[in-house]
Point group: C2
Chain length 235, copies 2
Amino acid sequence: MFSQAEENYLKALVQLIHFRDQGNEVGTNELALYLNVKPATANDMLKKLREKSLVSYVKYGKISLTTEGQKAGMDVVRKHRLWETFLVEKLDFTWDEVHEVAEQLEHIKSKKLVNSLDDFLQNPKFDPHGDAIPDREGRILIPYQRLLSEVSIGKSGKVVSVKDNSNSFLQYADKIGVRIGGMIEVAGRESYDGQTTLRVENKDHTVSDKFCMNIHVVCPTCKLGKDCSKNDCSF
Amino acid sequence: MFSQAEENYLKALVQLIHFRDQGNEVGTNELALYLNVKPATANDMLKKLREKSLVSYVKYGKISLTTEGQKAGMDVVRKHRLWETFLVEKLDFTWDEVHEVAEQLEHIKSKKLVNSLDDFLQNPKFDPHGDAIPDREGRILIPYQRLLSEVSIGKSGKVVSVKDNSNSFLQYADKIGVRIGGMIEVAGRESYDGQTTLRVENKDHTVSDKFCMNIHVVCPTCKLGKDCSKNDCSF
DNA sequence: TAATAAAGTTAGGTAGACCTAACAAAAAAT
DNA sequence: ATTTTTTGTTAGGTCTACCTAACTTTATTA
């Protein structure tokens, strides 16, 4: 079994290496920044994880996860996202309240618990933020998604996830009716600065390009699969 | 907030001081034994808890909890028992599988989580072992209960709790149909060695006195309250 | 390409929670 | 009431996960 700290590093590496749109190279500094520790600390831990064959990297080189390390990290992500789903669906937590608690719950060690919880929630494929939940083997479904900032004028998308998890962002999104599973139409976009007019629940809101770059949407007709273009796709 | 270790000590002290039938005096050695640590370790922690005004004791003297310490310990017990209830009722864990996982879950820090869970479970008063669940203020209902070994021949009792939580005991109890909430009739008892014949679900089982001393039962007609004798009590 | 900046590493140090071994006080037994 | 046993305490050490400060390597840029 892994310590809580080890699990945090493995999860962080999975997120930085596998769950990012571009730039899947990770360094000590970036990892440290992500985990709110100092580079020296991250470096210590990387050596420890290398000893345990969970990561592979050479001095001054880039970091990658071994198969075993990736599996372990995925498992933490799986638990985190299942607990988030539980909190929202069963205990009526709101979208922006779950993260902190899930950070603790993800470290509970019990295979039976995770799998029972999965069944209890009816094996959800996506969590309340719209992120994919890895299955027992660490596999995830990858919806064909793009940033709201890249959706053409006049087209619509269904919100599947957000990149920013800060309270200020989540509350703002919530206020203008932007939530996971909801539809957004791009009514207009200013070429000068990317200011974008969104139509949400029949109301228009003008938001910044920055805001749009934090929201992932999928084509509402063909949510899954990479062959989206074959259908009469919204994008 | 308290560390996980601190919480464990506070919980242990609550159990040893308040949740025991007799001998509510606790010493360093006993506490250490209970927590599977060495006396020196327990002593270190006691000094730390005294610093924080959670326990009060003098060198070589007996240990007691301050009001604050008792509240904190009760809170851990509350969480432990709520999670056990959740595991059994919602995730179909069995009686003897819950303890280990609840030991981890009890340390999750979120008032909202505990109270939501409490509501989700419909504010249970007793956990799957039949132990009382403290409420938000740390209060518990005390059922008028006695040991099965003290129930007279011919009388019946409803099982409310067990003292032994070892797997061997729990599995044995389960095998002969003894479970929380179930009825047991004392059909006979050998005065020589206390061998007792129990009638459970219309079957008779002969068990040892030791076994009976681990089971708490309440009068089935007047479960709560100390004024049991007023009614036509089964005992 | 040499100077500067950024990224990564090492050495040595702290706090928490545990340990062993030696010792002191209190309780029990002779 | 003295010895023995039990119980409790102290001192000093380990391991984990963090830290700072100093240093080295790699990358950037002038």
